[in-house]
């Protein structure tokens, strides 16, 4: 779809540099946050030491010392998902993310999903495409922030809030970034990560957000394993379903490859270290030769693992967990190809998070009894208040301040993303990437005297007092000119009420089609009739040639059925008739994002000319 994505090469140096510069600036803000955390820690620690010297903190410290440690299963989830979020955040900082993520990852993820899912996903594609610096940078800091949050807050409200933040951001990613994990598209398979890695991030986040007493009994572990058991059993049925291409390999090179074979062949093409591509290629070859057997193994393995989880008997579950982990690791290496290569890999895919969830479930099932919170400890009256703990217990103090710092890191990303989401216009960085920055000039604009689409004479003199955006358009152009006209129209919209001080002027740039009929037809085609300050001018060929020459516009016939070649630029002329800015008007890939971006750049130049007459 024209309009989705930016259309720019994913390693466009202008955008990549701006992305890295934004990360650097935001990194400095993060450093400031860390500095404030250190200052706060220092102040509170000083207060603690003063209290300790006075003997006031001893009672609270003694009470704290009787608290039981964090359940192992919870700690496993918290630390591992904290590290995974940080790893994902670092992956988001790859150079290809600003321009590659939307067209290469987000959009294809929704390609086979129902239309309503595609509409949901398009919201993020548009946001990402319009703001290719702020939004990817936001994703970096939000994910690193959540990861740090989970790592530094092992207990209490801050820890549970970290879990909730993980769920919230995970849902955003799952719905808008992964097209609901592609669960509504054909070809859904456990082998390739259904129902999406982020579902397990959310699952872990939900578990972390539960009250601590939930971890005190085996009930939570049993519930997790049952859910995973149903999930594995369902995936086994799906995997066994005939007619989905999983039972076939590729009997010979000319035959159509089975679903799994072609998936792995595709993965092997991802840019990555040779050792991983050769592993994926080897497995693709193996599956091509033994497609039926591979699928039979997958179906049986999934079914057995699912059945063992559903049994909820620790010994049986232990075997299932070991088998499940081995299966997940094998799938991660052989089929998912580790998931994060290629420059736009956003996470290590689903197998590791999935394995962590069911391993945590197993630990919660088998080790919960030893960690039960004594009733006397769990009562509010027995526990010191947060203020008392903050002033009395160094570890609690540190963790609380660190968690607030982590929230600060998350906000470093979330705030610009929220701002970007409210801005319907694309970032000017896109037009800069296509055309460079507008050149400031200062000389008298050449005069002209031509006729507009309404048969009225228009001269530069007659436009004095208004700021003029002027360009040259071919009325029968099939590619760029309609886009440039729309960019002018969009710039007019951005200016709002200020547009009454502006005239948008285009001069016919086709030596054959110079009659007014063509200007009217072009205006109808581009719905410019309702733009009050739009003037499309023409004249006799000599008049036009003189104007082209005066402004340095090159116009020439092209042979063999090609359209007329002409310069694509725009000039901004102030109310005194002086040229103030010159803009390259090449619309580049002509997507909605670049069109909107050029409009913002043009509107900025017009505002500058109005502000500094």
């Amino acid at each position: 779809m024209s309009g989705m994505g930016t259309g720019l090469n994913s390693n466009n140096p202008t955008v990549v540099s701006a992305f890295h510069a934004a990360l650097l600036k935001q990194g400095l803000v993060v450093l400031l946050v860390l500095f404030l955390v250190a200052v706060a820690w220092n102040l509170l620690r000083s207060a603690q030491l003063r209290q300790a010297a006075g003997g006031e903190g001893e009672v609270v410290a003694a009470a704290e010392s009787r608290f039981i440690p964090e359940p192992v299963a919870r700690r496993l989830l918290r630390v591992s998902f904290g590290l995974i979020w940080i790893f994902d955040g670092v992956l988001q900082a790859q150079a290809s993310m600003p321009l590659g993520m939307a067209p290469e990852v987000i959009k294809p993820a929704a390609a086979n999903s129902p239309t309503w899912v595609q509409h949901l996903v398009n919201a993020l594609v548009t946001l990402w495409s319009y703001h290719p610096v702020n939004v990817p940078a936001a994703a970096v800091w939000i994910q690193i922030g959540i990861g740090v949050w989970l790592l530094v807050a092992p207990r209490g409200t801050w820890s549970r809030l970290g879990g909730a933040a993980s769920v919230g951001w995970g849902l955003v990613v799952w719905v808008f970034g992964e097209a609901l994990g592609q669960v509504l598209s054909p070809g859904l398979t456990w082998l390739f990560g259904a129902p999406g890695a982020v579902v397990f991030y959310c699952a872990a986040g939900i578990l972390l957000a539960l009250p601590e007493r939930s971890w005190a009994t085996p009930r939570l572990g049993r519930t997790v394993l049952r859910l995973m058991g149903f999930f594995f059993a369902g995936m086994a049925v799906l995997q066994a379903w005939p007619g989905r291409g999983f039972w076939q390999g590729q009997p010979n090179p000319s035959a159509a490859a089975g679903t799994l074979t072609s998936m792995v062949q595709q993965m092997a093409q991802t840019p990555q270290p040779r050792v991983f591509s050769s592993i994926a290629s080897s497995f693709a070859g193996f599956d091509a030769a033994h497609g039926w057997a591979v699928n039979l193994f997958a179906v049986i393995a999934l079914a057995l693992v699912g059945a063992s989880f559903l049994s909820a008997r620790p010994r049986v579950v232990r075997v299932g967990v070991v088998a499940g982990v081995v299966l997940c690791l094998a799938d991660w290496v052989l089929i998912e190809d580790l998931g994060f290569f290629g420059g736009v890999g956003t996470d290590p895919n689903s197998m590791i998070p999935m394995a962590l969830v069911f391993v945590a479930g197993y630990i919660a099932l088998t080790r919960a009894r030893g960690t039960e919170v004594p009733a006397t400890m769990a009562t509010k009256s027995a526990a010191p208040s947060w203020r008392e703990r903050l002033l009395a217990r160094p570890t609690y103090t540190f963790r609380t301040i660190a968690a607030i710092g982590a929230l600060g890191i998350t906000l470093v990303g979330a705030a610009p993303m929220a701002l970007a989401a409210t801005d319907p216009h694309a970032d000017p960085i896109l037009s800069e990437a296509v055309d460079g920055t507008p050149s400031a000039v200062d000389h008298v604009a050449p005069s002209f005297r031509l006729t507009d689409q309404y048969d009225k004479t228009v001269s530069l003199q007659s436009l004095r007092g208004k700021v003029v955006a002027l360009t040259f358009l071919d009325p029968v152009c099939t590619s760029d000119c309609p886009l440039i006209a729309q960019e002018f129209r969009d710039a007019d919209g951005i200016l709002g009420s200020e547009s009454r001080r502006v005239e948008l002027v285009a001069i016919d740039a086709n030596p054959r089609y110079v009659t007014r009929d063509y200007l009217v037809a072009f205006d109808q085609q581009e719905r410019l009739g309702d733009v009050a300050n739009w003037r499309y001018l023409t004249g006799t060929l000599p008049q036009l040639e003189q104007t082209w020459s005066a402004y340095g516009a090159q116009v020439s016939y092209a042979p063999a059925g090609a359209m007329v070649a002409h310069s694509e630029f725009a000039v901004v002329i102030d109310g005194r008739g002086r040229m103030r800015y010159m803009l390259d008007a090449d619309p580049g890939p002509g997507t909605e994002a670049t069109q909107s971006s050029f409009a913002v750049t043009l509107a900025d130049a017009l505002e500058q000319a109005m502000a500094n007459p």
């Binding site: 029968v476 054959r512 009659t515 009217v520 092209a558 063999a560 059925g561």
Partner: protein
């Protein structure tokens, strides 16, 4: 010409054979508009009108006209896009023109008549109005596929849903009437689509495709009295795998039909007029885009491969196609992207 698998790099060309010469030329003054959407040619007594089909972001059709064999050109304009049919534009000896616009997802199909020159047009009828006229109801009028002018009166050709009825409609005394020729009884079960329609001063010539099941036949028909009486040709069966590539006039009231086959030899058939059977000419070379029948000369096959046009003449002695010219056209690849 160009890269025919890439619409933005496929450029339709205006080529001409100057009078008194045997070499084709592309030295036509530039159309000054991209021709990726196709060209529709209409010839009349006063010269040639070329309509440029919309493409990419262009939604209307520029027209250019020449009355001096392409030396100078004037402009016209259709504020809507010419329909996607090779016979969507026609012009008569007086310079009056008729055009078919819209259809196929580009708005309601309409038949327009030039009001003054080639820049002012008035709507004569629409597809839905035409379908409501009594005769057209009997035909089950489908898509309008061709327009023409016969002695100043507009004529439209269309497909008919009802078997055995030919959808030729003419406007007489302000009303449209179905005047389509009757088909031979052997084809009464077939659904008919008008493929081509040409007129000379007095004669209306049409070519129709008749489909019965999977089998197709082509039938030409002529009327010299404005559609009162018709004479038809024998049916030309279209072999399986053949696809119509080009239709045109030969000298007098004759027609040629070029059919391409995906694999194997193409087929070129000619019918010289009413009552004369179809004649198969030697298979033209692979890649033949169209065939020209210059007056007083042997037929020439125009073979296109990317930017090269190869002209091959049919020798009367050996009945073989012999290369006579290779013309390289300076295509501007990428200019329409």
């Amino acid at each position: 010409m160009g890269r025919l698998d890439q619409p933005p790099n496929t450029f339709w060309q205006l080529l001409f054979l100057p009078t008194g010469t045997s070499s084709w030329s592309d030295e036509v003054e530039a159309t000054a508009v991209a021709t990726n959407g196709g060209l529709v040619l209409a010839a009349g007594g006063r010269g040639l009108v070329v309509g440029v089909r919309p493409s990419n972001r262009l939604r209307f059709s520029p027209l250019i006209a020449s009355s001096d064999a392409g030396r100078t050109w004037s402009n016209g304009l259709l504020s809507e896009g010419l329909a996607e049919h090779p016979q969507a534009l026609a012009v008569d000896d007086t310079g009056q023109a008729v055009a078919l616009v819209g259809g196929r997802g580009e708005g309601l199909a309409r038949v327009l008549l030039s009001a003054a020159g080639l820049s002012r047009w008035k709507t004569l009828t629409t597809a839905s109005s035409l379908a409501a006229v009594p005769g057209a109801k009997a035909c089950g009028l489908g898509e309008i596929t061709a327009v023409s002018l016969l002695a100043g009166s507009p004529v439209a050709g269309a497909s008919c849903a009802r078997p055995g009825v030919v959808g030729i409609l003419a406007r007489r005394t302000g009303k449209w009437e179905l005047i389509g020729p009757p088909l031979p009884s052997s084809l009464h079960r077939g659904r008919v689509e008008v493929l081509a329609m040409t007129t000379t001063a007095t004669t209306l010539t049409v070519l129709v495709a008749v489909s019965i099941g999977a089998a197709d036949d082509l039938v030409a028909a002529w009327s010299a009295d404005g559609g009162q009486d018709w004479r038809t040709s024998t049916a030309l069966p279209v072999s399986e795998g053949l696809q119509l590539a080009s239709v045109g006039q030969v000298s007098g009231d004759g027609l040629f039909v070029l059919m391409n086959r995906r694999t194997g030899a193409d087929e070129l058939d000619v019918v010289d007029g009413p009552g004369v059977p179809w004649t198969s000419l030697p298979s033209p070379p692979a890649g033949t885009a169209t065939v020209a029948f210059p007056p007083g000369a042997t037929p020439e096959a125009l073979v296109v491969h990317e930017a090269a046009l190869t002209v091959l003449g049919l020798t009367s002695a050996s009945s073989a196609w012999v290369q006579s010219q290779v013309l390289r056209v300076p295509i501007q690849y990428g200019s329409s992207n």
